[in-house]
């Protein structure tokens, strides 16, 4: 009896519930590179920039490091890294045989003194930043169990004296390469396999129509030449169809077509403008802008055009919807009561609208990263219109492009094929 009572009493420990811990970036040290210095420094520089932009890691100041300069990839004195506050440690050792760079990249858990990741990455010397992007994606995948986007590319419109051209660049804005000439080219959209970019162009001299360009060969061919104008192509997640808007007899509607531009079919038939269709990640629903209630608002409908539902009720000018890859949010730009366009998200389930930008110029044309962790947009803050990046809660806003005249209409390319 006494033993039973003792057992019952011992189980009655006081319980304290703790929640609401501060969410902070993971303290990460990137040790000085080993091996060939110029390659190591270049790779680490690109890696540091990737990690800084990610918002996931807090990179520690190398000036504070206490590790011995002779410390290699093994025999690490973890206490010295713990002393500077590191929880993770990255070490790099690069070699440069011939025209390529080969790097041994490692990630360590400082608290437990164990190696977490270890890989050898090779790239041509001219593209050695790709080594950093590949290792960076592996690190992000290790921590978050979600794919990283450091190897992805973006497309946007570069403004030039001669017009507007479509440009492809790395996700961080590096290595921009023109895809088109400089007539008036707008609204690029990637195919899901990353091989094609559809865009709106005035190149045929007959108004705006939709063309596609092969990303590798730069070959351009017409996709939709129907109506007074056709614009805003967006590929379906399966890549077999694309949405666009076309104006026929002064009535602008959302259409769907086969990937080769054939079999175009109208999805909306309301009076007034229906435009800017975008797919849900499962391809079953479409978000679009409609003026059917008097002001431009975001609506959704089934992929066959049925079951139309109004999603936004706040503001009197909401446009440019972009459905998140996770499916829960739609980003859009809306004009507030001061007649300034800013970025917002609306929750698909609840209709709750959250503001992402404010008092920082005009902010428009949101485009999601394929992992849903970031949004590209164009912004006039800083004077010129450039491409910026934000996290979906509005934090960690950073400039991506620094074009001489300006940049707009960003589109984020797909994830690279998995190995």
């Amino acid at each position: 009896m006494i033993a039973l009572l003792a057992l019952l009493l011992a189980a009655d420990r006081p319980v304290i519930d703790l929640s609401g811990g501060k969410v902070q970036a993971y303290p990460l040290a990137i040790a000085r590179p080993l091996g060939v210095q110029d390659a190591g420094v270049a790779v680490q520089s690109a890696l540091s920039a990737d990690f800084e932009r990610s918002g996931l890691f807090k990179l520690l100041d190398p000036a504070s490091f206490l590790a011995r300069p002779t410390e290699g990839l093994t025999g690490i004195d973890y206490t010295r890294w713990q002393a500077v506050g590191a929880q993770g440690l990255v070490k790099t050792s690069c070699d440069a045989p011939g025209g390529e760079v080969k790097c041994d990249m490692r990630l360590y858990d400082v608290a437990h003194g164990v190696e977490l990741l270890h890989g050898t990455y090779t790239a041509p010397r001219a593209a050695m930043r790709q080594i950093a992007h590949r290792f960076g994606d592996d690190v992000v995948k290790y921590f978050t169990h979600e794919p990283g986007v450091f190897q992805t590319r973006i497309a946007y419109v570069r403004e030039t004296e001669a017009g507007k051209q479509i440009v492809i660049a790395d996700q961080d804005g590096a290595s921009p390469q023109p895809l088109t000439g400089a007539s008036i080219n707008l609204l690029p959209a990637w195919s899901p396999d990353g091989k094609l970019i559809a865009f709106t162009s005035f190149r045929d001299g007959l108004g705006a129509h939709i063309f596609s360009a092969d990303v590798v060969s730069r070959q351009i061919k017409p996709l939709v030449l129907m109506g007074d104008f056709a614009t805003g192509a967006v590929y379906a997640p399966d890549g077999l169809r694309f949405l666009f808007s076309a104006s026929i007899d002064d009535n602008t509607d959302v259409y769907v077509s086969q990937a080769d531009g054939s079999a175009g079919r109208r999805l909306t038939d309301a009076r007034g403008i229906d435009i800017s269709g975008t797919w849900s990640p499962d391809g079953k629903r479409i978000a679009f802008v409609s003026e059917r209630a008097g002001t431009p608002q975001i609506y959704t409908m089934a992929a066959d055009g049925s079951d139309v539902r109004r999603l936004t009720f706040q503001g009197n000018y909401n446009q440019e919807p972009a459905w998140s890859p996770k499916g829960d949010l739609i980003a859009f730009s809306g004009r507030d009561e001061h007649r300034i366009f800013d970025l917002y998200t609306v929750a698909v389930d609840t209709g709750k609208v959250t503001r992402l930008t404010q008092n920082q110029g005009t902010n428009e044309k949101p485009a999601w990263a394929p992992n849903g962790r970031y949004i590209l947009f164009s912004s006039t803050r800083g004077g010129k219109r450039q491409i910026w990046e934000t996290q979906p809660d509005g934090s960690n806003q950073r400039a991506v492009t620094s074009e001489r005249i300006g940049a707009s209409d960003p589109a984020w390319g797909p994830l690279p094929p998995s190995k």
């Binding site: 902070q24 921590f143 800083g382 806003q397």
Partner: protein, 241 residues
């Protein structure tokens, strides 16, 4: 040989039923009653409902916002890299329709001092002298009185929360369902003698963050009435992100 027996005292006990069965019955009944009182509630009482925190935001003084307008951010965004220059545009001017009165130099100075002191605006109201609580209570506390030990557990909660950092590398989705329990044994001086990860979360970085929080926490000495229990039995810390 006959021996005369002394007369029986009136106080002498009569030969009656033996005591043993009655005693056994009484003891058994006591055991049943007390045992039942201790054990039966564990079978019939429903587990107390989980205490969910109610997070309330203080409503700012001002006019209600028109629900048809797009929302404003609650906190001001960071300053742009450079001041935007006006770009010729067909869009209407961004100037608000009604201009606010410019604050005086004195008001600006007061605001700056308030910001330096960690306040957004200078407080003009005195704290409510009628508010019931404890001088050792938590600023976030809501109870007016405390049970024995509650004040100390509040201090433990606040001290650990101060060091409780969730790494941002844990995805938002994973944060929704992560939870872990740690049993901490606290010495008479407030030192954490040892801690045991009773229930792992399944995410090594979250578990590591909890251990770091406990290692970094300095606790005050527990009150004498619960010191032995905290040293021998410990306290359960249930963590959620």
């Amino acid at each position: 040989m006959s021996e005369s027996l002394p007369p029986k005292s009136v106080l002498a006990l009569e030969a009656r039923t033996p005591l043993t069965p009655g005693l056994v019955l009484a003891v058994a009944l006591h055991v049943v009653v007390f045992g039942g009182a201790l054990i039966l509630p564990r079978f019939f009482d429903r587990a107390p409902p989980l205490r969910k925190p109610i997070i309330a935001k203080l409503v700012a003084l001002g006019k209600p916002r028109d629900p048809h307008l797009l929302p404003r951010k609650e906190s001001a965004p960071p300053v742009a890299a450079a001041a935007p220059v006006s770009i010729p545009s067909s869009k209407p001017s961004s100037a608000p329709a009604v201009r606010k009165r410019e604050p005086t130099r004195q008001e600006l100075m007061q605001r700056a001092l308030a910001r330096a002191a960690g306040k957004t605006e200078p407080r003009t109201e005195e704290p409510d002298p009628e508010r019931a609580g404890s001088s050792t209570g938590s600023a976030q506390g809501t109870a007016a009185t405390a049970e024995e030990g509650d004040a100390y557990f509040t201090a433990v909660h606040d001290a650990i929360l101060e060091n409780y950092v969730v790494p941002s590398v844990i995805s938002e989705r994973e944060r929704l369902y992560l939870s872990a329990s740690v049993v901490a044994f606290i010495g008479p001086g407030g030192q954490i003698l040892k801690h045991e990860l009773q229930k792992k979360s399944g995410n090594a970085f979250f578990d590591q963050a909890l251990e770091l929080a406990i290692q970094r926490t300095k606790l005050p000495p527990p009150p004498p009435e619960i010191a032995k229990s905290l040293r021998d039995t410990g306290v359960v810390l249930n963590f959620k992100p």
